[in-house]
């Protein structure tokens, strides 16, 4: 597998981008996610009002893949309804499991489809899905699941 498929410009950009790495002025939901094996550690902050994700941000530390994945996720879910965000979550996790192809998901996941290649790097799958699982915890509670 060609590593450059994963460590592409996009990841690099997202990893170094600071726009999603901050604390929100108003937080309705806060969720902590952690990968003990590599030490990825994020705290997701959400401002959800009337079933809509008004704003989202994160703080934490970890590898480039976990941090980039978190940042890309935040770009994708900001402004969405809880149900729409849940759909994206399922699309992303489905892509990593290899149940859906990148081409099918291009419109739904935008930049985040580049992480599809992670399925060829079993040691790093946990890094890519950390943010999405953390978000899923919040969404499930919100949807009463």
């Amino acid at each position: 597998m060609d590593l450059s498929q994963i460590y592409t410009e996009v990841i690099t950009e997202h990893n170094r981008s600071t726009h999603n790495r901050r604390s929100l002025p108003e937080v309705t939901h806060k969720e902590h996610g952690h990968n003990p094996s590599c030490g990825d550690d994020i705290t997701l902050e959400l401002d959800i009002k009337e079933d809509k994700i008004i704003d989202a941000a994160f703080t934490g530390t970890g590898c480039a893949i976990s941090q980039a994945s978190t940042s890309m996720m935040i770009d994708l879910i900001k402004g969405l309804s809880v149900t729409a965000a849940k759909e994206k979550t399922e699309a992303f996790l489905g892509m990593i499991k290899g149940q859906k192809t990148e081409a099918e998901l291009e419109d739904v996941l935008e930049d985040a489809v580049i992480l599809a290649n992670i399925k060829n790097m079993p040691a790093r799958v946990k890094c890519a899905v950390l943010a999405w699982h953390t978000l899923d915890e919040v969404l499930k509670k919100q949807l009463g699941q």
Binding site: L3, S4, Y7, E9, T12, E13, N15, R16, S37, C38, G39, D40, D41, T61, G62, C63, A64, I65, M121, A123, R124, C127
Partner: protein
Amino acid sequence: MCENSEIRKLFPAIAENNGIIYFDNAASTQKPEIVLQKVAEYNRSGHANIHRGAYHWSVEATATYEMTRRKTAEFINAESPEQIVFTRGTTESINLIASSYGRSQIKEGDRIVVSLLEHHSNFVPWQQLALEKKAYLDFLNIDPAGNLIESEWDRVITPGVKLVAITMMSNVLGITTPIDKIIEKAHAVGAVVVVDAAQAIQHQKIDVRALDADFLAFSAHKCFGLTGTGVLYGKKELLESMPPYQFGGDMIEYVTKEKTTFAPLPEKFEAGTANIDGVIALSAAIDFIEEIGWGKIREIEQDLTGYAIQKMKMTDHVIIYGNPASMYEKGPVISFNIEGVHPHDVSSILDNVGIAVRSGHHCAQPLMKELAIQSAVRASFSIYNTKAEIDYFAEKLKEVRRWLGYGS
């Protein structure tokens, strides 16, 4: 031609896998052909359970198993074979001590001392024992270079300390500890000392009698043997006074409906069918080490370690952890970070070019906290590694930051 090409030929996984540079020897070593052969030979010529059958195969297996016990005793200079208990590994050996000796001897208010260099397997059992018994857990601290702070010992190792648990070599920093001095101090206040030799075992001759160690543990898979096999050494009077750790077959003398009497040492601590394959492999691994010789092993390892450190120090953005006063106190284990790149990314990037290094907390979270880092990359060498491999590694280290979009 590399300096140890003859040694490389003795390891099929090294000789036949050109392209993979294995630098994770602190986690587990590759196995020499002779070890693989001995295990295969035993199984091909007729395997049987030990200590049970009166028939030929069982008698043979028992003889080999007990011969290995004698060989292991000699290997670490124990007085007698019954002081060698075969376990699943270092972790089980230490848990055995904590469960059996610890639970029966440690009382409320007693003190247990551990160092901050410890692997979780020589840390958590003592922490949990202290919690269970309402005993105190005290620490031998390290300085920023990773060396134990000797000047504090008189304050920490005082009467009331019942047990000191200490590694001979840090699995993260490669630093060896002044184990003899610690044992002397501990004995002066009446404490017993549990020595974790998991890292030290593949690098140096260990003499439990010269050290006066009370307990010592190591794993076969870190010294060219198989996984799932370990050793616990203990002083005879301590082992004899300890209750069994697990109950079952092999460890009993008489069993009636009402009660059981236990077998003498060492069977008392070897409940259930033993890992015969693993013990036979350990026998071959010990022969292998003695054939190569400690002098040669030490020479190759010191040479590689010094060379690697020198190369890494010349590489920009590389931070090395653990700097002992002299290179003589450093085993072939180097933990480092590359500025701006998470260790997990470093190991994926190096894996992509065929270099196997470890990243993470290395089962030593208290130590990572002391070093004020969350994780690190670790390169660790063995006798089959070469300077040419280190050259390649150093070249590739220089490229790591570019993958993450840095200019250099």
